[in-house]
């Protein structure tokens, strides 16, 4: 993975992705050249949302400047171009996660909507009073609250796979819970707080053996790892474009065809219908049955460009780069006195590190890092309040990495933490 590039000496110490030096990759992200508080901007919050390469914006601008029209129903050339652009993006996304057919890719606003869609449609049709839904203690609110709402509507029961002190799922408890014949098991592929990469291949197989349907929250995995829905045998899986170089406003629900076809629609309106009478209607084919109203056309096209960009790098290389950065960061952070890291070791972890520093509140830490060294980290409960409670924490600080993160940036994070210690004097 290491290449030497004599023209840009700074990059010789970095791994490369698909033969491109990190310096070259960083050029594609203009925001990385800006300053904050008079210091170079260092973005360590890609888990919340990634930065976007110029290619993604170019694709969307080209759409708006040359091919903008509503899709699907237009007979004229520009509308055909818009439709083709959007549907080509769907095919790219299907291939990216190895879905069998592009009609299994439903466009939503984000991961959150994808999960709510399943909770509302599959959930209403399949869950009734007393039914068991298994979740985990490390779920993001988006993979928790929709099931709470479903449980309230239907009288279903929720049980939770606990996490160990090291941030791993307690798989023995999972096995026990599966014996209670759950209807659905929903879990995250990668925790957005602990970075834990869960063994979802085995977890899905066990769930299926117990007769349950599986919903994988892949918001953190699809952007960072190769994911193959057929190899995983996932029933439902979802993710958001904005976390993987793509625009805001678009996400994906993947589902097995038979499940999607059997589900009632979610929202009613234009495009999702076959025939409409005053008092009754019939539904369109997949994927449109679940895409009511004018879709996020430009965003789909931008998402497609993001997929192209990631494919050009190679997802194995993306993973490898993050693995190196994460190991480097874990080592550097462990050397900071008073710092506590949450979650597993580097080999079971994606590019996310949550930590606390002595009695400095994470919000104060984030403010200091921003103002003193231009480093953007996240501070708070990371939309995982039950997990915070599990560790008896109000909040953590979280640094997270992506294809453009450099080791120098980690060094500056550490310098910032030292400044914070100095300010809070201990």
């Amino acid at each position: 993975m290491l290449t030497s590039d004599n023209t840009t000496p700074a990059t010789t110490v970095h791994s490369t992705q698909s033969g491109r030096s990190l310096a070259e990759i960083r050029q594609d992200f203009p925001i990385l050249a800006r300053q904050v508080h008079g210091k170079p901007f260092i973005y360590l919050d890609s888990t919340a949302s990634s930065q976007k390469p110029t290619a993604v914006l170019t694709a969307m601008n080209e759409y708006y400047h040359q091919h903008n029209a509503n899709v699907h129903r237009g007979v004229y050339l520009v509308s055909e171009e818009a439709t083709a652009g959007m549907e080509k993006a769907r095919v790219k996304i299907a291939r990216f996660i190895n879905a069998r057919q592009s009609k299994q890719i439903i466009f939503t606003r984000n991961t959150t909507e994808s999960i709510n869609l399943v909770a509302h449609t599959w959930g209403s049709a399949n869950i009734s009073s007393g039914d068991l839904i298994i979740l985990t203690e490390m779920e993001h609110h988006s993979n928790l609250v929709p099931w709470q709402l479903l449980a309230q509507r239907t009288g279903a029961r929720l049980e939770f796979v606990p996490v160990t002190d090291d941030g791993l799922l307690q798989l023995d408890v999972y096995a026990d819970l599966l014996r209670q014949q759950p209807k659905l098991v929903a879990f995250t592929h990668m925790s957005n707080v602990l970075g834990t990469i869960n063994p979802i291949h085995e977890m899905i197989a066990q769930a299926h053996a117990a007769g349950a349907i599986t919903m994988v929250d892949a918001a953190q995995s699809v952007p960072h790892l190769p994911v193959d829905v057929q190899a995983l045998d996932a029933d439902f899986l979802c993710f958001s474009a904005h976390k993987m170089l793509g625009p805001t406003g678009i996400g994906v629900l993947y589902g097995k065809k038979a499940l999607l076809e059997a589900m009632p629609p979610f929202m009613g309106g234009g495009d999702m219908i076959r025939t409409v009478k005053l008092r009754e209607s019939t539904w369109n084919d997949l994927p449109w049955k679940f895409e009511a109203g004018t879709p996020a056309i430009a965003e789909a096209i931008g998402f497609g460009a993001a997929i192209d960009y990631l494919n050009a790098l190679g997802m194995d290389n993306v993973r490898q780069h993050e693995r190196e950065i994460t190991s480097y960061a874990l080592d550097a952070l462990k050397a900071v006195p008073g710092l506590t890291i949450y979650g597993p070791e580097a080999d079971q972890r994606g590019g996310v590190v949550s930590f606390t520093l002595a009695d400095i509140h994470p919000h104060d830490l984030a403010s200091i890092l921003d103002q003193e060294v231009g480093v953007a980290i996240r501070a708070g409960h990371h939309c995982a309040q039950p997990l915070m409670e599990r560790y008896d924490l109000a909040a953590t600080a979280r640094a997270s990495f992506y294809i453009y993160t450099s080791k120098e940036e980690i060094d500056i994070l550490v310098q910032g933490l030292q400044k914070a210690q100095h300010i809070f004097r201990f």
């Binding site: 699907h72 237009g74 050339l77 509308s79 080509k88 592009s102």
Partner: protein, 132 residues
Amino acid sequence: MSMDYREYILDHYRDPRNYGTLEHPDVHCEDSNPLCGDQLGMDLQIEGDRVTEVRIQGRGCAISQASASMLSEMIEGKTLEEVIALGKEDVLEALGIPISPARTKCAFLGLRVLHRGLAIAGLEQPQEDEDE
């Protein structure tokens, strides 16, 4: 003058062949194009291994109605095997004009109804939609 509206297409549109219904069809199917509302029904009479009679009913654009009319001519008198083998190429060849992406659903509406009808009657395998 538009290449897309040759005289013979307009002729099939104005005067569709095999228009009407059969009293006791062996195969009947109808469908509509959800995005534009074009409708088409098709009745087939089958004797032995041969399609002996075809009737179509429908309303829609020149492309959908003319292509169905042309298809009905292709079907009549053919063996089931030959009819099952009819594909998009055959329809496009009969139309003889380039079909823009938005109009392919119009052009293939008749073909879709034909194969759906045969599948429902158990005479051919249901076809999976392919991925573009």
